[in-house]
């Protein structure tokens, strides 16, 4: 470890003489194999080659994508299509460790796993995603544990559970979805899910109803397009109520500020924060990780880079898999530059495209481009760029599937 540190320091000195180090750059540990972590590991090898030692730590054997999971919930797409393995990363030279990190030591530069093993690093990339804030809503944790309520906001068994509950719903039954206050993972996700569940109900349970209670004052993404879809495609099945925050769950009853709702299916999407893995670095309200946008390093711990849904997003930047992927490339480039003792890119750019289905056959998008603003030290949406679809369409549904395929590579 000491030898490696000296090597990095030597690399920094060598640069002052315009030489480049020819030996190993150092060791990078990436924790979390979702859109952010898997992309970071991939691009570190793609750009760093054999000179950089990359280890990906992930507790699961494979990755299950949230994007497109609403199509699975609605019975339109096969669940198998959401799964992705890590063989491609291993073929590129990424070392994979299956395990769960329980402690991060940014001073000693080491992470510890549940089984007691430790991994040393010169640079650490955390991609922990989100965890849930259940304490403020009595009964919610118990309702998830018993299976009476599902969140389906981390894809996997929850996705299948919601699918099964919808299949078992009696015709004439009631489905309740609740949406937490922003910020949460995937701003358009709840509204896409509402549209697709409504499509399913109309097709398979024509007398059933879907109530959508939103803690926010309005639809949080692609507002006009979703409102149009609610009216054009889902009137009579889907009822949307804003300014309704979930307060408590008791049995099959969900309590909101102004009403209690009894439903057969409770899809309660909880409030969210940075994943447990990064909780020590969540310096923004104890909830999100503030980062330096030139490197994605946590403000609370230099040397620890954090990407994806766990960070405090820049203004106008949604928490999306697409942006986790983009932030991961920014982090990979910065990590390699820092290991080489070079200056990091002073003008990073990230962009987002996100497709949502409003029926099984029609989709629409939102897009944005974010450039670094040196004066304000944050990413800013470029004025006049980005936007949403003029209307949802079948053509964009095809783009959406292609986008998901390439994004999930």
């Amino acid at each position: 470890m000491i030898a490696r540190r000296q090597l990095v320091a030597a690399g920094g000195l060598a640069l002052a003489g315009c030489a480049t180090p020819t030996t190993s750059l150092g060791r990078v540990v990436v924790v979390g194999g979702g859109f952010g972590g898997a992309t970071a590991a991939r691009y570190l090898k793609l750009w760093g080659g054999a000179d950089v030692d990359v280890t990906l730590v992930e507790r699961n054997e494979g990755f299950i994508s949230c994007p497109m999971s609403n199509l699975v919930i609605a019975g339109v797409r096969d669940a198998i299509s959401l799964g992705h393995g890590y063989a491609g990363l291993e073929a590129q030279g990424v070392k994979r460790v299956r395990g769960e990190v329980v402690a991060v030591d940014p001073v000693g530069k080491v992470v510890r796993l549940t089984d007691g093993t430790t991994l040393r690093w010169d640079r650490l990339i955390l991609a922990p995603g989100i965890d849930f804030m259940l304490d403020g809503i009595p009964g919610l944790a118990a309702a998830y544990d018993s299976g009476r309520a599902v969140h389906a906001w981390k894809a996997g068994l929850q996705t299948l559970a919601l699918r099964r509950q919808l299949q078992d719903l009696p015709d004439g039954g009631v489905v309740l979805m609740s949406i937490p206050k922003a910020p949460y993972r995937c701003p358009p996700g709840p509204y896409e899910r509402a549209c697709l569940i409504a499509s399913f109900l109309r097709r398979a349970k024509p007398r059933a109803k879907l109530l959508v209670l939103d803690a926010n004052p309005e639809v949080q993404s692609k507002k006009a397009l979703f409102e149009r879809a609610f009216t054009q495609h889902h009137a009579g099945v889907l009822e949307y109520r804003p300014n309704a925050e979930l307060k408590e769950v008791a049995g099959g009853v969900a309590r909101f500020e102004f009403e209690d709702i009894k439903a057969d299916v409770l899809n309660l999407i909880p409030p969210q924060r940075a994943g447990d893995l990064a909780k020590d670095f969540a310096n923004v309200n104890g909830r999100w990780v503030g980062v330096d946008w030139l490197t994605m390093q946590a403000q609370a711990a230099p040397g620890v880079h954090v990407v994806g849904d766990a960070i405090l997003s820049a203004p106008g930047m949604p928490k999306s898999g697409h942006l986790a992927n983009q932030q991961a490339k920014l982090a990979a480039a910065a990590v390699l530059a820092l290991l080489q003792g070079e200056a990091v890119n002073q003008a990073p750019v990230v962009m987002n495209t996100c497709y949502s289905f409003v029926t099984p056959a029609e989709a629409m998008h939102v897009a944005s481009v974010h450039q670094y603003d040196a004066a304000e030290k944050t990413m800013k949406t470029v004025p006049g760029s980005g936007g949403v679809s003029a209307a949802s369409s079948a053509a964009e549904a095809a783009f959406a599937l292609g986008w998901a395929d390439t994004l999930n590579l």
Binding site: A16, W47, A333, V349, M351, H365, L401
Partner: protein, 97 residues
Amino acid sequence: MKPAWILLLLCAPALAQDVNAGRSLAATCANCHGTHGRPRGPAMPPLAGMKADVMLEALADYRSGRQPGTVMPQIVKGYTEAQLRLVAAYFAAQAKP
């Protein structure tokens, strides 16, 4: 022994301009167009090996509205002309899929 400031002067251009700027900018396109501009499926056009002037003309047409589209007319407006030239040069240097 040369004075230190000469060494600094010689190194300055490399520090001022990120040598990987084109690579990093082009990576922002990969989510849809594939790594190095080689997409997975038929829905997205490949960018690898496209001549730089052809790409820049297509991007200019998206920017002006001459070429209609869904996402690209909105995205292209988020990049400067200098950034687009770096992106086009990067993809032109990639082997065709």
